[in-house]
């Protein structure tokens, strides 16, 4: 058996119980100290004392922007109202991200307990979990967890004899990406269109049903109980100067050990990719990591040793986001990556404001032209100018950050854009119009296997003589390469012209 030589790089706080217990049996959670923190808070602390603990701990929101959690709770607690709400944002929508789903499926009670603590601190007796309808297993386990907690008296009326009441209900999202934005999320819960509105007013003063509402992400809630039980000093001893604790990342893409990881803030990309992730698939060359989803950007080789925290990621032109980490190797075309995210944004834009609705569509069209080999140098300036306009004028976080993939790939991979536009080449061999299938005359025996399988009749040649592929007809379906038994066909950046 292999034994790890060094101390493990991962530290699991939010994921402390994931994979350790049966999420459908509350007794297993109780064994692992579930609801102890709630009991302690209700018995020993005033709401303000509990908020102070969170402020001291330095916990920041794990949904992406990194707003200090204690401060958020304090603002909500100071709003005066007869009714307040605690909302858990489980509308995880970034491509490649599955942190929240795993927490809800593996340890639902950690989130329920923290929501009750939040309710006590801000003076709310109702909690709502806004969860995507695409997460049926997480929904099922949450429902079981809520009903078991009610049965055991850990939610509901007069919790643990303290006189504090708290109940939690589920709200289903229909899967719109913009509904992860808190104002859009609240509108969606109210039964209105999932469209964002200007802040202020912030949800802490006027949120769900115009009542003060505190919205936190799943992972943020999952960090609360350990902070209460082990103390703020313990938590703030982990991480970097301004980013405390740990962060869960969903490692995906061209990496050997795809998985769910949790590392202390300040861990470098190199440690994550090569030590925890086991390196790049098939020993290919590392090119970039995309973090922060469609609002984030790419980190490249020069960022490999940057300690990851909120500030450093912003400085590197990306952002923490919710924690998706997509690893890319030398076969990924960065222009196509930017195009992929823009395509996602175009589909997910709610259409309320013009810069996002129309601007992103235009950005996408320019990128599409470039990947088809029809781009001109002027397009690169247009991309940049339009991106700035969208960033400055869009209504909500989705629109303001939507050009980030363009900024970041232009900044880090300008030479790839240049090659696409000027040399009409895609070095990654990804853009279909910019590479060619070529038959090596010396290896081709003229068996005609390729000619027979070609669906568009792009291959010509006499029997037992070398064949030829007409690149103008070829649709790059890859059939011929798979059929050729002599490895005579390869992908080349230059077409072969028949003389």
């Amino acid at each position: 058996m292999e034994t790890p030589v060094n101390k493990p790089k991962q530290l699991r706080i939010a994921l402390r119980n994931c994979g350790m217990l049966d999420p459908e049996n509350i007794a297993e959670s109780i064994v692992r100290d579930a609801y102890q923190a709630l009991g302690k808070v209700l018995k020993e602390y005033s709401p303000q004392e509990c908020i102070n603990i969170l402020k001291q701990s330095g916990l920041r929101g794990r949904g992406g922007a990194g707003f200090p959690t204690g401060l958020k709770w304090e603002i909500a607690s100071k709003s005066k109202s007869d009714q307040k709400y605690v909302v858990c944002n489980a509308d995880e929508g970034d491509p490649g991200a599955f942190m929240d789903r795993s927490i809800l499926e593996g340890d639902p009670h950690s989130v329920l307990e923290a929501m009750a603590i939040c309710g006590y601190c801000i003076g709310a007796d109702k909690g709502l979990i806004y969860i995507r309808a695409e997460y049926p297993l997480a929904i099922k386990r949450l429902k079981i967890a809520i009903s078991q907690a009610m049965e055991w008296g850990l939610l509901g009326k007069n919790i643990l004899g303290s006189g504090f009441n708290f109940e939690i209900k589920l709200c289903y999202g229909a899967g719109a990406f913009v509904c992860g934005e808190e104002t859009a999320l609240i509108h969606s819960m109210e039964g209105k269109r999932g469209e964002p509105t200007n802040k202020p007013p912030f949800p802490a003063t006027s949120g769900f049903m115009k009542k003060p509402t505190n919205v936190n992400n799943v992972e943020t809630f999952a960090n609360i109980a350990p902070i209460i039980l082990k103390g703020p000093e313990w938590f703030s001893s982990i991480g970097t100067k301004n980013s405390k604790g740990t962060k869960v990342f969903a490692l995906a893409g061209k990496i050997n050990h795809v998985g769910l990881i949790e590392v202390p803030m300040g861990t470098s990309l190199r440690e994550i990719i090569y030590e925890i992730g086991g390196g790049i698939k098939e020993n290919k060359k590392f090119k970039a990591v995309q973090t922060g989803g469609p609002s984030g950007g790419c980190l490249t080789e020069k960022h490999l040793d940057t300690p990851i925290d909120y500030e450093n990621l912003i400085a590197a032109g990306s952002m923490m986001g919710s924690g998706g980490m997509i690893v890319m190797d030398e076969n990924d075309c960065m222009v196509s990556v930017a195009k992929f995210y823009l395509d996602f944004i175009v589909g997910e834009s709610c259409g309320k404001c013009t810069p996002c609705r129309i601007g992103n569509k235009r950005l996408y069209e320019i990128l599409e032209r470039i990947t088809q080999g029809k781009g001109v140098m002027k397009d690169l300036d247009k991309l940049k100018n339009l991106s700035y306009i969208i960033k400055d004028t869009a209504l909500c976080g989705l629109g303001q950050t939507s050009p980030n993939p363009v900024f970041s790939t232009l900044e880090n991979f300008y030479d790839e854009y240049y090659e696409h536009v000027v040399e009409k080449k895609c070095r990654a061999g990804h853009c279909k119009n910019l590479f060619h299938y070529v038959i090596n005359e010396e290896l081709c025996v003229g068996c005609a296997a390729c000619k027979r399988c070609c669906p568009v009749h792009a291959i010509t040649g006499e029997k037992r003589k070398p064949h030829y592929i007409d690149s103008n007809i070829c649709i790059r379906c890859n059939e011929c390469i798979e059929k050729c038994s002599f490895d005579a066909i390869s992908i080349q950046l230059e077409p072969k012209i028949l003389v």
Partner: protein, 130 residues
């Protein structure tokens, strides 16, 4: 039905449940059992964890091995799903990856019966808080 009315009751309930668990884990206790956890989050189920879990439950009782097989959430080793954790009484828990029914059979015959490790062991690569 359990209804907990105070923090003290919660703590004593926790301790009671804990001691039940430690009886299962005590190699000298007659109630000892092999404890197996199958990672059954969406990712695990999609990779076939339910088949693995059904197989383990059925085969362990057929082969007269006192055991409890439970489901858990994601263990984080998505690349090696389905994953299971096996805890022999009094021993450190061991995680196995790529557990289809063939490997599950191997694990029962080799690791659970004789304590000899089989292929597919995943070294635990994290610290947790307790």
């Amino acid at each position: 039905m359990t209804h907990i009315k105070s923090l003290e009751q919660l703590t004593s309930k926790r301790d009671e449940l804990k001691s039940n668990l430690s009886r299962l884990d005590d190699p000298n206790n007659s109630e000892k059992k092999v404890q197996i956890k199958v990672a059954m989050a969406t990712c695990g189920i999609a990779s076939g964890a339910r088949t693995t879990m059904d197989f383990l439950t059925a085969e362990l009782s057929k082969r007269n091995i006192p055991s409890v097989v439970t489901q858990t959430g994601c263990m984080g080793y998505c690349y090696a799903e389905p994953t299971i954790e096996v805890k022999l009484p009094g021993k450190e828990a061991v995680i196995f990856g790529y557990v289809d029914t063939k490997r599950a059979d191997e694990i029962i015959e080799k690791y659970i019966k004789t304590g000899e490790l089989t292929e597919g062991v995943i070294p635990r690569n994290y610290d947790t808080i307790d």
